[in-house]
Symmetry: C2
Subunit: 317 residues, 2 copies
């Protein structure tokens, strides 16, 4: 393992405390409790305050990160915000964060427009830039405020998406954390309109989204395993995008891995889009971190991104 | 020079034929012809059709690229759209382009939110990804439809910005073109609101934008020259973002380089934001291409990006 390689040592998260309980909605839409608990899987979804923006939620995730790790903001050389719900379109949200967090002048700022596979895209993009430019520390913010673009009467979306944010530190300075080994990406043919927001309201064709995911995600994981000469048993943990309990369970079956190696942990706060995977990963950074982890994000586009991470412990100086 | 290095062999461009003449507006705002011709420098600006979107303009730039170079769309492994005026926020415009251009399933798609320094950011981002992932061909689309967000009565913006788009091919497969040698990026402190679009209208504090540019752009160019052990005379061409004639002339003076080494070529179509530099560069890809070229973009954020390119001719197999 390369000395001073780039690692993910800490992730800050923010989930609003307010929740929408889904039981009454399920009744209204004619869904039974089995559907709610075992198919959809979201008994409640997190709700941000009405005036709370992507920028505000990124700041709260950063405050959480600072509680987890000592951080000198002047050491941060790159920040990016992954969102399709920016606070304003001009400037990019990362430029606004740069001001609030009082970052250094030599800090690169840009945003990435990507959805549920955005975090996997961002890890690869930021990792590649850190290698090319010799950067030591970078932050990936993820935040999507889908509750702003949801028609509460649309049964396809109103019980699924929750508001949330996360900030992931990538660093060469810390001797423990997850390191990116490999990644693969793709975009399904003719799929752009399976998740679309026009005129301010999100429309989702859930069946198409499910079919694309069931078809492409297992193949992308197989590809990563093959080119790294690993078997599915070599992977200790598969963190799959929390689209619904049904999609996570279905992918677990198609992959043929033990249900103990995947997880659906978002039943109380919903599908947080670009933040769904970093929120999961934030719970696996402690002393009992698994060695080989696959992340797989999929959604808007329809796109997917699959990353292989390896945990590095107490790397020698 | 590394064999099969990544090069920019071709750039497609699109400028709408319709023009807004600025002479009457200058009169209305109380500007004389000296100000219009020699300070602002834009005698007219390009106007897209009212219904024409960022997506439409990207497609037209791509049609222009296909006239310039033979291209198998199935070889394209990554496309990104640099814009702060996306057609819709969900999905990203590159996913919609993926569908129209009938690209391959194994093509990565994401958009980048960045303004006038966006092209320099994108060259570095895409170059780094191509190196990490071993990709051979990628497209960088740039397009900003500022005329949609301009108050025609606002003298700070209504005579400056024009609509335009470009698509830049980065390829390992072609043995001639510009190759990225080095780049540097930054974000000025407390500067996020010098260019901002809230409630659908662009506001610009031109004096602040000018001051940030005059302060930071020459320093970033100096930094690139120093760490590549080059003098300003070693550079054959400086392509500076076309913010106005005044800013290009001022930077030329501050840099202390011959006016023959910089250019202001956008007097007939305006400041096309993220497309301003690729449109300039597209005119320098022929047989008489200069060897060492500096690109420097600056604006929204306030951010800057400076790239050093080297032209490679008929690289040996």
């Amino acid at each position: 393992m390369k000395r001073h390689s780039i690692k993910i040592p800490a992730i800050g998260t923010y989930l609003p405390v307010d929740r929408q309980l889904n039981s009454k909605k399920a009744e209204k839409f004619g869904y039974d409790s089995n559907f709610l608990n075992n198919k959809l899987g979201f008994t409640s979804v997190a709700l941000k305050g009405k005036e709370e923006t992507t920028l505000d939620m990124c700041v709260k995730a950063f405050e959480n990160l600072k509680q987890k790790i000592e951080l000198n903001v002047k050491d941060i050389q790159l920040i990016t915000v992954i969102s399709q719900n920016p606070t304003v379109n001009i400037p990019h949200t990362s430029a606004m964060l740069h001001n609030i967090l009082e970052l250094d002048k030599n800090c690169m700022t840009f945003d990435i427009s990507q959805g549920c596979s955005g975090f996997c895209h961002a890890i690869q993009i930021v990792h590649s830039l850190m290698e090319s430019l010799g950067y030591n520390n970078a932050l990936i913010f993820t935040c999507d405020t889908y509750r702003d673009i949801i028609d509460e009467n649309d049964h396809n979306v109103s019980m699924i998406f929750g508001d949330g944010g996360a900030v992931t530190l990538l660093s060469r300075d810390i001797n423990q954390g997850y390191s990116l080994v490999d990644a693969t990406f793709g975009t399904a043919l003719g799929s752009y309109d399976c998740l679309i927001c026009d005129n301010g309201l999100l429309k989702m064709d859930g069946r198409r989204v499910f079919n694309y995911a069931a078809q492409e995600v297992p193949k992308s994981i197989q590809l990563i395993l093959e080119r790294n000469e690993m078997s599915k048993e070599d992977i200790n943990l598969y963190l799959l995008h929390q689209g619904s309990k049904f999609i996570v369970d279905s992918l677990t079956k198609i992959l043929g891995v033990s249900p103990h190696k995947t997880e659906f942990s978002s039943s109380k706060y919903g599908n947080t889009v670009s933040s769904s995977i970093p929120i999961l990963l934030s719970n696996h950074l402690g002393n009992h971190a698994k060695t080989n982890v696959i992340l797989s994000g999929f959604g808007v586009g329809f796109t997917w991104g699959t990353c292989l991470l390896k945990h590095i412990k107490n790397e020698e100086e």
